[in-house]
Symmetry: C2
Subunit: 111 residues, 2 copies
DNA sequence: TATTTGTGTAACCTAAAAGTTACATATTAT
DNA sequence: ATAATATGTAACTTTTAGGTTACACAAATA
C-alpha cells in the first residue's frame, strides 16, 4: 500500500505553481487561460494543475468543456501550521531575550 | 553571472530538511548529532546542512573541529510572506461573505 | 454532420535532486 | 608522533520532476 498523498511543501516548491496560485487569488481561471500566462506547453500546465488539485490547493468546477480552477484553503493548512510553529519559536526567543535584558537591568539598577 | 540563491521553498520541500529545522528549534546541534537522527550517510546530512545554511535557515558556529548549527530567522521570511499573503486572502474572502450575508439580512429584515 | 475548442493522458527525454563511497584535512586526545 | 574524531568535497549512480509531442475524446459551433 503506497501512501502517496503528495505533500504541500513539495507542491509549492515549484515557482510556476506558486505563480498559478497567485493568479488564482485574483480570480478563478480555466486551464487554458492559465496556460496562456506561461511559457510552457498546455499539457505541462495541465499536470501542474492536477498536482495543485490533488494537494487540495484548488477546486475544479466543470462547466461544459471548460474546467474552472478555484483557490481552496485546505492545501495551505499544512504550510500555515509549519510557519506558525516557527513564528511562535521566534516570538518566544525574543521574549526570552528581553527577560534576560530586564533581569540585567534589575541587577544593575536602571539609568 | 549566475544568480543561484537557492530558493527557500525548495529548501523546505525536503522532509529531512524540515525535520532538521524542527530539531534545531529544540536546541542547536553539531552536524554529527544531527546525522545520528537520520537514516542516511553523514555526507548526505552535510549537504542538507549546507543548503539550509546557504538559504539562511541556519547559522554555523565553529567550535574547534565541531560545527554547531543554530536556527536563523532569515530563511523563513520568504515563506512567511507567502503564507501571509494567502492568510489575508482567506480572511478577506470571509469578510466579503459575511458582508453579503449581512446585506441579505438587512434586505429581508431580521428575525 | 463536420470542425473547432478545451481538455486529459501516455510515452518519452533531460536535467536536477538526493543519495552513496572514497578520500582529504584539521583538531583533539593518547 | 599517532590515532581518533568531526567534518568537507569530489565522483558517481539512481530516482524523480518537469518538460515535450502525439493522440484521444467530449462539448460547442458552423
Amino acid at each position: 500500500m503506497k501512501t502517496n498523498t503528495l505533500d504541500a511543501f513539495q507542491v509549492i516548491a515549484d515557482p510556476s505553481r506558486r505563480q498559478m496560485l497567485m493568479m488564482l487569488s485574483k480570480d478563478s481561471m480555466t486551464i487554458n487561460a492559465i496556460a496562456d500566462n506561461f511559457d510552457m506547453s498546455r499539457p505541462a500546465v495541465s499536470k501542474h494543475i492536477k498536482l495543485l488539485y490533488t494537494a487540495g490547493f484548488i477546486t475544479i468546477k466543470d462547466i461544459g468543456r471548460e474546467r474552472h480552477c478555484i483557490l481552496k484553503q485546505d492545501g495551505f493548512q499544512e504550510l500555515q501550521d509549519f510557519i506558525n510553529f516557527f513564528d511562535k519559536f521566534w516570538t518566544a526567543r525574543l521574549g526570552k531575550l528581553q527577560s534576560i535584558l530586564n533581569s540585567k537591568q534589575a541587577k544593575h539598577g536602571r539609568d
